[in-house]
């Protein structure tokens, strides 16, 4: 139950007086309650937990962190001795 998954807002509408959105999760679309995200707009990424959007994914911060990670490697070139890991893309983001 604890999964929270990022997805992209495709549509925003109202149902029973509540702000709702159609959110795309890597190809699967679901209706999600946007009551807690009054400012979210179509095209934004959001993290969804048990049918509710709880936060917006800050794209700038996402890129900044990745750039920082990549830089880590630039400072340190000698990974010859390290064995590569086979990463399984984790498609679930728990809470």
């Amino acid at each position: 139950m604890c999964l929270a998954v990022p997805g992209q807002v495709k549509q925003i509408f109202e149902a029973n007086g509540t702000r709702m959105g159609r959110v795309n999760f890597g190809g699967i679309e679901k209706d999600v309650c946007l009551a807690y995200m009054p400012d979210i707009a179509i095209g934004d990424y959001t993290i969804v937990h048990v049918g509710f959007a709880i936060t917006k994914v800050d794209e700038e911060a996402a890129h900044k962190t990745l750039a920082l990670f990549r830089e880590l490697g630039m400072l340190d070139e000698e990974f010859g001795e390290e064995r590569p890991v086979e990463e399984e893309a984790n498609h679930e983001v728990p809470h």
Binding site: M1, C2, L3, A4, P6, G7, Q8, N16, G17, T18, F25, G26, C33, A35, Y36, M37, P38, Y45, I47, H49, V50, G51, F52, I54, T55, V57, D58, E59, A61, A62, K64, T65, L66, F69, R70, L72, G73, D76, F79, E82, P84, V85, E86, E87, E88, A89, N90, H91, V93, P94, H95
Partner: protein, 368 residues
């Protein structure tokens, strides 16, 4: 998908691991609070990438695991009442109560339904006015906004047949309890990212200062977890004890203000028993008096139930980081995800299930 695969990059994971090895000079014990992080660590083999000095202690952050036995027994009793539709997140169904689980009650004829969201339960209530619909409202601060909204909507829609059995738990009091418990070994915390998406992290600086413990807000993808560990170790090595946000793309200091407002309106802080751990003061939420009519524990007169925990199960020690799951004698033998003795073997976020599901620890347990 965007922001998932990027944060699973194996090459960068190696770089972060290298960095961690470089800065580590002595043994440190870190606790990842959230079961979702435990799951990510075991699934992605992050523990195997770390230098031997770094020990990860798996925290109690699995709501399915810590929901008190008495409440599971109450749920079983309510679910078995005629006319009730009992709705729950799927992983609660196999959590052992004193004598059975919800799955068993369902097979005995009770109307137990798995829902994805508490709003599904509200919809069922609207569509079945002649039935009593009860939702099992468990979870940490991440799940609480959804449950609070479900109760609010039930009131707005004038539903008289919807109620919630509430057992919410809170992270900061659990950190406090761990730090003050005798024999505590935890020296730094990886705090649960999505809890902080909702709550922000303004609650943590006093905790970090009071206990001299670094707290790093950490996400769930492999690189997020590695970076959380890297930052925690860097703090420990340099003698700092700060609150750091390593999950900036989804967490800010204040959190989700709209959600916090509704949470305060619907819930009040209460003492809460954690399964396997005991009562932690002010560590949970229950419904405010103004919403008591939606409290299933009030609506259904559930008797004072005598609980009975399996004597074989050591989940309390596992949840407090005193025992690794594979050190439990029943692990993989009497206790498996198909026949769990304790709640930590049920949910995929439970430490015992994470150890079992990825297989790596089964031989170790046999060898012991």
């Amino acid at each position: 998908m965007k922001y998932l695969t990027e944060y699973g990059d194996g090459e960068i994971a190696q770089k972060l691991a290298h960095e961690i090895r470089q800065i580590t000079t002595r043994p440190w014990a870190l606790m990842e609070v959230c079961g979702g992080q435990t799951h990510s660590i075991i699934r992605n083999g992050i523990d195997q990438l770390l230098p031997p000095e770094i020990e990860l202690i798996h925290g109690p952050g699995c709501p399915v695991c810590v929901t008190p036995l008495g409440l599971i027994d109450q749920a079983l009793e309510i679910a078995a009442q005629p006319g009730v539709i009992f709705c729950s997140f799927g992983d609660m169904l196999r959590v052992p109560g004193s004598t059975k689980d919800l799955f068993r009650v369902k097979s005995e004829g009770a109307d137990v339904r798995v829902v994805y969201s508490p709003l599904d339960a509200v919809n069922i209530a609207r569509q079945s006015p002649e039935r009593q619909v009860v939702f099992f409202g468990i979870g940490f601060e991440t799940t609480a906004p959804a449950n609070a909204m479900a109760v609010k909507m039930a009131r707005q829609q004038g539903l008289k047949n919807f109620s919630m059995l509430v057992s919410h738990v809170l992270v900061p009091p659990a950190i406090e309890a761990i730090m003050t418990s005798p024999g505590n070994r935890v020296q730094a915390f990886l705090a649960a990212g999505h809890v902080c998406s909702v709550m922000g992290y303004w609650q943590y600086p006093p905790l970090a200062a009071r206990h001299g413990v670094p707290i790093v807000i950490t996400g769930f993808e492999p690189l997020d977890v590695m970076d959380g560990i890297r930052r925690a170790v860097a703090q420990l090595e340099s003698g700092r004890n700060e609150v750091e946000n390593a999950y900036e793309r989804a967490v800010n200091f204040d959190g989700n203000g709209t959600a916090q407002q509704i949470l305060n309106e619907v819930f009040e802080v209460t003492d809460r028993a954690w399964r396997g751990i005991g009562v932690i003061p002010k560590s949970g939420w229950s419904l405010q008096p103004a919403y008591r009519e939606f409290d299933a524990a009030y609506r259904f007169s559930v008797t004072d139930i005598q609980t009975c925990e399996s004597t074989l199960c050591h989940s309390g020690e596992v949840l407090q980081g005193r025992l690794k799951p594979n050190q439990c004698p029943a692990f993989g033998k009497e206790c498996t995800p198909r026949k769990p003795l304790g709640a930590t073997m049920v949910s995929s976020e439970g430490a015992c299930a994470a150890y079992y599901n990825y297989g790596r620890f089964l031989n170790i347990s046999a060898a012991n």
